[in-house]
Symmetry: D2
Subunit: 438 residues, 4 copies
């Protein structure tokens, strides 16, 4: 596959209907124009890439611009859509559900929209949950609440059984809101659908509070997550300064990627140490974390430590790999571990007062803030436009500050991580004052 094709989206077939949207195709009439299939956006902005393309005589890697197409695949009035939410909670899920329902109903006139209860379980008849009908009236206020209106569950179900359910309910479009595992599941559904030559579009809206989906700028809910976390850091700082040699340890989400921990620390600059999964650090020895912490206490009499849940796994020597229902590796509790190690280290040295704070559930259940609300609505609208056009196995997302469609297979190749040599991590180090390595 050359550059041109890398990010192409699969389609169920040639468009068969005119879009019911009353848009324009001419510039200057102050009416939004349909987006053409040939609208592409460069992925890699660096001059180096450009010059390389020039040298190689190839097109640069491009992304499909998101938006409504003039010719669409489904007969909107008679189409059936379904929405499913999977995995852990994240701010903004309800905004996405609301946006999907509003776009399907009001923009395209889709009459039947089904809610799949409790994640992929809801597509497995054995589980006994029932699909429910969604209407604008039912969802109009749900954006004011955190959580998921539809319920969720972790882990997958048999792909064949789920496609059976889609077919049995004559579902034309499935919108799945979920993280890495969910998206891989969407792809698997898409492949099974292709095999059966069924005409069902499957679409992902990446939901990962850890912000660890590759290629895309950011996943929805992430900004809210560190917006909710950062006043908790301020409180933790108050706890730390409220005691002589007070130490606050705050564990934040971040299995493989420390974006929330790092962003919250940057947003609330009272943090002295941020420990993330991307970094290796040692506890003991001269430049080790404990020694650095001791020096900090000697100088300032308090310290605030933010640790991502997946940080420091290298410190657990005999690690039995345990996975949760979603297939994520269950981590040892680094927060509790750190608390113990710090206590032990200072026991015969100086009196310290350690507070351990785990605000995870408070963060993930919050309603979306305004930036995320806007983001969720726009993602949902674009997901609907793409599905109506017959595109499948793609996610709606934002890359380089533009809304685009990206193949699921591309965003699930690997997890996005903090680049320890990048400007973002450098900002964090500068803000906290912690050394490059410990």
């Amino acid at each position: 596959m050359d550059n041109t094709d890398r990010f192409n989206i699969e389609n169920l077939g040639a468009p068969q209907y005119r879009s019911p949207l009353k848009l324009s195709t001419v510039e200057g009439d102050q009416i939004f124009n349909f987006v053409s299939e040939s609208n592409r956006l460069v992925f890699d902005l660096s001059m180096e890439h450009y010059n390389q393309c020039l040298t190689d005589g190839v097109q640069p890697v491009c992304l499909e611009k998101a938006g409504p197409r003039q010719d669409i695949f489904f007969d909107a009035e008679n189409a059936t859509a379904a929405i499913v939410t999977c995995g852990g909670l994240c701010p903004g899920i309800n905004n996405v559900i609301r946006g999907l329902v509003m776009a399907l109903h009001y923009f395209y006139g889709v009459k039947k929209i089904l809610g799949v209860p409790y994640g992929y379980e809801g597509l497995n008849p054995e589980k006994g949950h029932k699909l429910t009908e969604l209407t604008p009236d039912k969802v109009k206020d749900i954006h004011q609440f955190g959580g998921t209106f539809l319920g969720s569950s972790r882990g997958g179900q048999d792909v064949s059984v789920m496609v059976d359910t889609l077919e049995a309910n004559q579902i034309d479009m499935l919108f799945a809101i979920g993280g890495d595992g969910t998206l891989k599941g969407v792809n698997a559904l898409g492949k099974e659908i292709s095999k059966r030559n069924a005409k069902i579009s499957v679409v992902g809206i990446p939901k990962t509070i850890d912000n660890d989906i590759d290629l895309i700028d950011e996943s929805f809910g992430f900004e809210t997550a560190f917006d909710v976390a950062s006043p908790i850091l301020r409180d933790a700082h108050n706890e730390a300064t409220g005691a002589y040699n007070g130490i606050s340890i705050i564990k934040l989400m971040g299995r493989d990627s420390g974006f929330i921990a790092a962003s919250a620390a940057l947003a609330m600059p009272v943090v002295n140490f941020v420990l993330v999964p991307e970094m290796d650090f040692k506890l003991d020895g001269e430049g080790g974390f404990l020694k650095v912490l001791e020096k900090r206490l000697q100088k300032k009499k308090h310290a605030v430590i933010v640790v991502a849940e997946g940080a420091g796994q290298q410190l657990f020597k005999e690690r039995t790999i345990v996975k949760d229902a979603s297939g994520n590796i269950q981590h040892e509790d680094i927060g509790v571990f750190l608390k113990e190690k710090i206590t032990e280290y200072f026991k015969d040295k100086i009196p310290v007062t350690i507070k351990y704070i785990d605000p995870s559930y408070i963060v993930r259940c919050a309603p979306a803030n305004s930036s995320d609300s806007v983001f969720c609505s726009r993602l949902a609208y674009h997901a609907v436009h793409g599905a109506m056009a017959g595109k499948t196995k793609f996610v709606a997302s934002r890359v380089n500050n533009n809304y685009v469609y990206v193949p699921i297979s591309e965003v699930t190749k690997k997890r996005k991580k903090i680049d320890l040599e990048g400007e973002f991590w450098f900002s964090v180090l500068q803000s906290t004052g912690q050394p490059f390595s410990m």
Copy 2:
């Protein structure tokens, strides 16, 4: 002691100075009047008590009205005041510190105000902390932050050593912000001071996030505490409804008294069970908690449980009594215990998803909300008025919605608890729908 004397406040001696406050003693001139020592307020409002007094020919139990006295004990200009904050954090401590400094400096012209660092430790020279001078400029913004500007510590120090420090620094008034243990400490200091025939006023401002100080309407920070806790209950409810048979367990503060748990549940009516230390409940058997919970799940597919940290201690059979530095009994973790018991109970019955949330530090570190801010300022002002008048071993507080002075010995006799037969608890039961007993 008869009714009349029960709540009388001890005094260091006859007033020797005129108050520098430019107040009035006549009604109708639109200028606040000095409060006379004879201003008393009835404590027990019930007609029964009144009629009993009538029958017995005795005066009803009365409280001293708080406020500025025209004749005061200290030479304000040359007096030295000190402020100490002890025990765990609670919203509003900084507001009280600020209010004390402002009232001492601006109302009375006290020139020297000392901050005692890290609680009673700061009065023990061996600990090596140093008293710091407090000025309006230093404290003017601290009300915007949670925690304590002065630092705190748990536990007492040698009374004699502490009085030595007070005398060595020529301190005339000590304002102590703290809970039951702290207040008992204040009383002990007062007694030692009397014994030495020193003229130092010791004043308590009751600080207990649990709201468990007896006799008084409410302690400062309590309203903020459940104001901060209640949206967390809303989030927990979202967690519970987000999973099939989702159960959220939220542990809130409340060692011996469940006021925060009960008030937060009443404020955010998504809670199905409130478990408080005052109630006895059994887990097993027909009317037991687990069976009641099961019925709830069958009907509604989710449940929200709020548990005060001191609840259900009767369930721990072999309980070794462990006390923390403040002398409080360290409780077994009822939240974790409940989570285990519920998991075990449902293991072979139905799939449940349990979330355990402990927001304690987030609650106690919050800045005071507006009601508490007003309350803290007024408490601080009254504490200063009382101390300047030479009163000692008292707390400034609000009883029956009026500001009064109460002897420390009276408010520390026992802890205030939820009256299980009272209207407040009945409101909670009605709001949650839980049975009178389990």
Copy 3:
């Protein structure tokens, strides 16, 4: 009328049914006890009043304790209740509506609960609004939103027409949530009902964001009001300090009583002047407001002024009295007036930058904070208990920190105002540093 009867509540007749509530009448069984009609609470707590009563050989003035009665007037199962909300918005209205519906439905088993749309207009068939049925399911989430679920309107309707509507719909109990005008309306309805010898209980729950209902501790929503207003004062302070000689003027609610302005200023101590309707002040001359403001600017280069909407009406010389639909006198806009006068005064003296902020709608539309939520639920429960017992023409409220019933005729005799000689106003003056008079 002697002391004993002054606060007695009128009753529709002797109780005819047993309460369906499963409560107790014995102490010590950990079950809430029914409240007896003889449970009374002393109104005036001062020793003076008490001693005067003893001397005079009369009972002190007492209030009826609120709560469920064992014997009730209505046949709960077959009773019909109605709820109406009148006048301007105030935080907590929806909490009260929710509490009434829950208490009627779940506690007493009332099957038919009607919502009156758009205030008293909804009881006038000519207006064309229709009564709607209220159920627990419809109201279960409304406490999370400000405003009124039922809609409101200002002003009264023909009393006879309204009673016709109550009778036509076989309404047994009418709960009216409103301020002074609404409560007077409730009383008028009650009198017309008596005249017709109809058996309809009419109950008021005092709603006045100005907190100006006489006798009671506080009206619901008031704490939220100044909780919402106080961060706006902080922002206004930032505006003021952001410019050289910056002056921020914030107009807050308070037609005849300045409680919100004064409380918000006390809660957020960045305010330098609080102007309330209760005080007289002059603008010009040596001790006048403008001169005092000038001195403040000379010293500090910024000033924050909070003005209640009804303050300074004496400054408008030619005042034509205009009333709004609720019969309240429409005030001249003191905020705009002050801004003009200050601009004029400083024009040729020093450059000033004046910002005028009117956050009224933001304050009154806010959802109730936690203290108010708890308060609203308990008020609603008590209102229902009183109505079921056949009491009429009363309000449910809190006096001296206890829930009681008070005759509407007593609370509407006059408006509650800030006592300029009282401790509350003194606290405000001390906090702002403004002189006793200007």
Copy 4:
């Protein structure tokens, strides 16, 4: 100028010092690398532009990547920096000030940092304000507060006088935080400095709550602005539904660009009409706004209208152009105007209740939310890196989600406006349901 040069940044001269930052120049050592002058990023992402460049054999338009340079122009230890904040308030100003001071002091070791009080006035000695020294300790908590720590003023001062002040104080770098007018002023300063052949770097950090600076993704404070505005829309919706035919009009900032109004409406989807300066609309006639509003009321009995302050200026027939001190055209008050027109229109038709809400000061004084906090810190860091490298007359900003430097002359050529044919405005229309034109 060809593509390559368009966005080149001017430099004071060749670098003369090694950066004191301990960074790397090799990949893979997990230490952030210095950014090279040759690091450029493509500005226009469209394939069309890219292909055109390839065809034409020219380089695409590129931007300089922001970040620390290995070789710098100033001798950091002996350099003097100054910071000035101009124009209206905006969330995040204090975060930028804090970030600048921290970066100058801790990253580069700059010893002398001066705060210019009250905007450009502070650089004019005649105004009598004095420069103040800034230290990390003075600014460490200011990010928690809205407003500007340094004070601000509107309008310019004599360029020559200001450069005199810079020279007199031996200032090497001036960081100016301000909007369009301020940035033009920075450019003018830069030109005067060039003329004098002085070596002073002048840097802009674009501050415009309206988000109307051209080319850049977004200005700081903008996300906070609509985050603060959107709950006010929710409240306004409660006001509207609280009355029969209730209409709420909310005026939001937006002189020439309606981004705040449109974004807030998209974030809080209770809005029915968004009126922005970019759109033309008529009030009267068949498809006019008033008729459309009437239809909405007939169907839904309430309406929420958000209007940007600069909208509908075409409706004011006899418009005298008035400018404020910053040179911005003073607009007629469209909010008040709309209120009058709507009142008039419905007067003899149907009863309506109109509420007019202007929350401008509440929005602009708010402290930055977490996204903006992170953004402000990173902008400030990059501004410092650029200035230390000797770059001048540039702004630090984010374009296509990357931090870059852009010449001031480019970003001040015209204002950024909502593209009425773009996807953003289309999302707004879809969300509100309002027609493409009125």
